[in-house]
Amino acid sequence: MARVVVDVMPKPEILDPQGKAVTGALQRLGFAGLAVRQGKRFEIEVDGEVTDERLDEIRRAAETLLANTVIETFAVSVETQEQAAAQGQPA
């Protein structure tokens, strides 16, 4: 089983109220000079091999549902076994 990750972020010009709230909370906790923008991470378990066609399909899924490209950008990446192991999760 392979894992594909879709990261979704609010576009830079779009206000990110959640990120602003987190930034404010970090400042109050004494973590100075940290500006946060908050996005979403989708971990997708893919049956079988991750082929170019499969990645295209996942890009279409991201564009159709996972991200609203009016306000968000997304990036699709294949997670290697090493990356998964580093997170302490089975690949």
Partner: protein, 227 residues
């Protein structure tokens, strides 16, 4: 015969019953529609009500937009059937690309609930023809994600084509670009707005009955078609 106006209930819709009641008080026949059906039951107009469909998971309206009934709603909108999206319904219309732009979290980072003064910027739509251009009205506003955003080009086009239907007066409650509270499609049959006209139809429960004219606008339009 009174026209039939349908109200779609999604899982998590809150104001579907109020919308059905507003339709009845305005003189049309209310018809309850179900998200999981692809049938519009022969209605003459459609309302997507407020609420938190699918718990606002992923993005407000993002999952409802793919409900079976939405295929029929998009098709009907293309034929010129009047469609009104209120609050969560507006978010669904934007996610479905029936209206441009998107709604994000309020800049205040708080849920806003108040009697909101609005200016009707155009009465050249199916849902606002009973108003006068520039009329100032008060309609209930209650949302956490009512901050309307779109790129500059889209905003300029909306203004140039007279498609900004409502603007917030007094204080902008949520950071919406250019104080936009509601917009319409090119044809004017699809209107979306964050405030809730269905809550302003009875003096017992609202500070104004300014909401009635939304529904009577559509009813007059449908009578004229049937005429």
């Amino acid at each position: 015969m009174s026209p039939k106006i349908g109200v779609v209930t999604f899982p998590g819709s809150l104001d579907d019953v109020d919308a059905l009641r507003a339709v009845r008080l305005s003189g049309a026949e209310p018809v309850a529609l179900w998200h999981g059906s692809d049938s519009l039951d022969g209605v003459d107009a459609i309302i997507l009500p407020g609420g938190f469909s699918y718990g606002d998971y992923l993005r407000c309206g993002a999952i409802s937009r793919f409900a079976p009934i939405m295929t029929s709603v998009v098709e009907a909108a293309g034929r010129g059937v009047p469609v009104l999206g209120i609050c969560n319904g507006f978010q669904i219309l934007c996610e479905a690309h029936l209206l441009p732009g998107a709604l994000i979290g309020n800049d205040s980072r708080t849920f806003v609930c108040r009697d909101q003064r609005l200016r009707v910027e155009t009465n050249d739509t199916t849902w606002t023809s009973a108003f006068t251009r520039g009329q100032e009205i008060t309609i209930v506003l209650k949302n956490g994600e009512g901050h309307y955003v779109a790129d500059e080009q889209t905003l300029d086009r909306l203004e140039a084509e007279d498609r900004v239907v409502f603007r917030y007066l007094d204080r902008n409650p949520n950071g919406s670009y250019r104080d936009i509270a509601g917009i319409c499609n090119e044809r004017g049959n699809v209107v979306g707005l964050m405030p809730h006209p269905e809550h302003n139809v009875d003096p017992l429960t609202g500070p104004s009955t300014d909401g009635l004219a939304f529904f009577t606008s559509a009813i007059q339009h449908l009578h004229a078609l049937a005429g």
